[in-house]
């Protein structure tokens, strides 16, 4: 019996693919299938979903047990996946994008710019509120000159709704 501990990256990946493939299949079967001669909208997605599940099974079966997995040599200096979860960084980066979307809608270009840079910069452990704010302010000025006046971006500087 496989213990949960032996669920390596490959097994997780395989499960993810199986789930994805199953989801694609479930939705795809709702579209018209048609025949090989005259394919409906659902034909290709269903085939792809099934293929994805197949590949998932193949990855799961051929996966080396964890502990002696061969390393895909990571690029030097690039994110080695070691270390615990980096919640602060993750939340701030995603928060930065979300802030841009939300404030772009309910605020305008300048607030969105400031918020996206400020929030995402907070994700770095060496970053402080002050340095993030300075960077954000600098980019607001840059944005005003280059994107608003230079490239006349459609988003108004300030807007509500």
């Amino acid at each position: 019996m496989l213990r949960l501990k032996s669920l390596g990256k490959d097994h997780c990946g395989a499960l993810l693919l199986l789930a994805l493939g199953a989801g694609v299949l479930a939705l795809g079967l709702g579209y018209r299938m048609g025949s090989l001669n005259r394919m409906g909208a659902g034909f290709i997605p269903v085939v792809l979903g099934a293929l994805m599940m197949l590949v998932g099974v193949a990855i799961g079966v051929t996966a080396a047990p964890p502990g002696q997995r061969e390393m895909v040599n990571p690029l030097p200096g690039h994110g080695t996946h070691a270390g615990g979860p980096e919640w602060r960084g993750w939340l701030c980066i995603l928060g930065g994008v979300v802030a841009f979307v939300v404030l772009g809608q309910y605020g305008g270009l300048l607030p969105a710019t400031f918020a996206s840079v400020f929030v995402s910069a907070l994700g770095d452990r060496n970053g402080s509120v002050k340095s993030s704010a300075v960077l954000a302010a600098a980019l607001v000025v840059f944005c005003l000159i280059v994107f608003h006046y230079g490239l006349s971006l459609q988003l108004p500087l300030f807007q509500w709704g």
Binding site: G13, R32, A82, G89, G96, D124
Partner: protein, 509 residues
Amino acid sequence: MHQSLMDLWYGFGVALQPSNFMWSVFGVLIGNLIGVLPGMGALTTISMLLPLTYVIAPVPAILMLAGIFYGSQYGGAIGAILLNLPSHPPHAVTCLDGYPMTRAGRGGAALGITMMSSFFAASVGIIVMIFLSPLLVEIAFKFGPSEICSIMLLGLLAGATMSRGSPLKGVAMTIFGLLCGVVGTDVISGTTRYTFDLPDLADGVELGALCMGLFGIADFLVSVNRTTVKASDAKVSMKDMRPTRAEMKQAFWPMLRGTMVGTLFGAMPGTGPTITTFIAYALERKIAKDPSRFGKGAIEGVAAPEASAHSKTQVDFIPTLSLGIPGDAVMALILGALIIKGIQPGPQLITEHPDIFWGLVASFWIGNVLLVILNVPMIGVWVRMLQVPYKYLYPAALFFICVGVYSTKNSLFDVGEVAVFGIIGAIFLSLDFPVSPIVLGFVLGPMLEENFRRAMLLSRGDLMVFLQRPISAWFIGACCLLIIAQLVAYARKLRLTPKLREPAELIAE
């Protein structure tokens, strides 16, 4: 031959038109500049500037994108050699010998050699492109839907299995990319597929959003607080960049061989640039008199991979433009940009849009000359750019990504897509899945589906049509060969490691 030279002359005329020339210079400069920045590869740079191409005419747009591509390749080598930091995977090999050379105080010479071999290799690639493309076009005119399908299949399969990491995972990612391409309205029946009732998805996933999510945000997510970039203390001035006569002599043949490898692999659709540089490096090591020198600062280990990368870059444009089959993710992006501009890549491109094709070829040369001229005096600036800390870099890049995606269609929904693809990409990356096959699948997906359905319609649902037509049969045969080669490699690995497996399995049970 004579015709090709005449066409090239015409191309120079197009490329030197002030507006085209300006955008080309701009692309080269920006590409080089951003390529130098740690963690910013060609893919990130192109996807960040992709929106800019929507507002300019097709010819300058393509010239600019191509300029960004090879410009960032020049820039990437600088980071690889001076900092041991490859911003673009193909440069990973250059680190192996380039960085030891920097530590030994010969970093400048390594850069000089890189620049020379890059320029030489690019020139060879361009010449091959000039003479091979018209030939390929003649063949390509014989292509029907079934041939296009089989060659796309070959390209996807090669792209999936010949990149870094596990081939099966590459295949999985290609399928994922194809599925992303399915999202939106089905052109034949008008059904909306996988849109989850979101009207914004009816036009499909935005190419820029997908790329920036997968290569921008996902990369930030994976590397935030985890990059260990040491500031470089290397000081390189213009004087240092001149290699000694002995070094030039040593690098000459590796440069030629690297160029050959790159040219050969560039003409094959689907083979990525990373594998090409690895092969060029392995070849040098194999034929070297003293292989132990490699990894300790052998100049051959810098010259050959860099040369192969650059000749491949140029030759890669042949299948991309004349067949519509991109060699790797960067080419897929350029192809996507062409399609957005309403230009269908394929055999008709060279005859219908000679300004694009020959203008591009000529601009390659102009761009490469510019890069050499630029890089020598600017080297001091680049070295200082390398020291920009990551904590300033990624928030700024994140903002550029948001604005860039927004400006494509003035849609904030697309910016949201970036976040989603960022999460997806980060999950896949952390599970050791390669993400670049996704782009390949995404760009080729709709074309593949359309041609497959057309081929089936023509053959009345007979799958054998792919084997009955000779050109198509060749491609299918090549696909089978690829799969067999992978199976053999897997079987050999199993046979070599049974002893290692047993104890591990015992523990697991």
